[in-house]
């Protein structure tokens, strides 16, 4: 009935997650880091939705969770951008390697 196997979706999610992870850990611009995190969340969402359809016990719950994740992601982005802006005002930079106050 369906030509697309479950592993194809999962593999795609994996690839996107890896890309997001790489971006989150290497990019210097904080905004891109945030976006990369969004990408990772999206990859997770794909997994959730995939399992909700092809999983062991298919049900709508996976989609519900996706809704929650999207909501949390939106909240996170809002707060993230707010923090970023206030940081930018203080330090005139959005580069992660200049934010090393953890060290001192």
């Amino acid at each position: 009935m369906n030509g697309v196997p479950i592993s194809a979706f999962l593999a795609l999610a994996l690839i996107l997650f890896c890309i997001g992870l790489y971006g989150a850990l290497t990019k210097r611009n904080t905004i891109i880091v945030l976006i990369s995190i969004e990408l990772m969340l999206n990859a997770v969402n794909i997994n959730l939705v995939t399992f909700s359809k092809f999983g062991m016990v298919p049900s709508i719950t996976g989609q519900i969770f996706t809704v929650f994740v999207i909501a949390v992601a939106a909240a996170e982005v809002a707060v993230g951008i707010a923090i970023l802006l206030s940081l930018y005002r203080n330090r005139r930079t959005v580069n992660t390697d200049e934010m090393n106050t953890l060290k001192n």
Binding site: M1, N2, G3, V4, I6, S7, A8, F9, A11, L12, L14, I15, L16, C18, I19, Y22, L25, T26, K27, R28, N29, I31, I32, L34, I35, E38, L39, N42, N45, I46, V49, T50, S52, K53, F54, M56, P58, S59, I60, T61, Q63, I64, T66, I70, A71, V72, A73, A74, A75, V77, A78, V79, I81, A82, I83, L84, L85, T93, V94, D97
Partner: protein, 176 residues
């Protein structure tokens, strides 16, 4: 495996999503990166349709491609909007290689886990009245998390406003 239309659609969408992701990594201008990612988000929305989650597809388009991307663009414009993300190669080369190896290992491990995963197909009716099904679940079984989520959103927005306003107060305080 027969090449169905659905499969072609999946391939196309997946390709766009991955290209978007790769461009995110490789473009130099921050704005371009965000735009590249919008394509990814859109193609993910398409994938949701394939996975019988029409409601989610719509939400995805609205929230990600719409709201979040726009917020990001605003964020960029409020900071150094024409900043180029010049990756200083000397500093992080080893770190990057290290990380790449780690990610490859991670990917490999998971790929081993999923490449022949098949639970068998159970016919489901997710696509019928998708939004209604979600609504039913959400307001019956998941009503408390739903309410909590609204509280979270509220707190987040208030927090965001406070954070971005606080400095204004300080600046005024400094001026005085």
């Amino acid at each position: 495996m027969t090449v169905s239309g659905e499969f072609i659609a999946f391939l196309a969408l997946a390709l766009v999503a991955i290209i978007g992701g790769v461009l995110l990594l490789n473009l130099t201008k921050v704005v371009h990166m965000v735009v590249a990612l919008v394509f990814t988000f859109l193609s993910i929305a398409g994938l949701y349709v394939l996975l019988s989650a029409e409601f989610l597809a719509v939400v995805q388009v609205l929230v990600y491609s719409g709201a979040i991307s726009i917020i990001m663009l605003f964020g960029i414009m409020l900071t150094k909007h024409n900043d180029e993300d010049d990756e200083s190669p000397s500093v992080g080369r080893w770190k990057r290689l290290f990380l790449l190896l780690g990610i490859l290992a991670f990917g490999a491990v998971f790929y081993i886990g999923i490449y022949d995963l098949d639970f068998g197909t159970t016919p489901v009716a997710l696509h019928e009245n998708n939004a209604e099904q979600i609504g039913m679940e959400l307001f019956s079984k998941y009503v408390i998390p739903f309410e909590l989520m609204s509280v979270l959103l509220l707190v987040a927005f208030v927090g965001a406003i406070v954070l971005s306003r606080k400095d204004d107060d300080e600046k005024e305080a400094e001026k005085e």
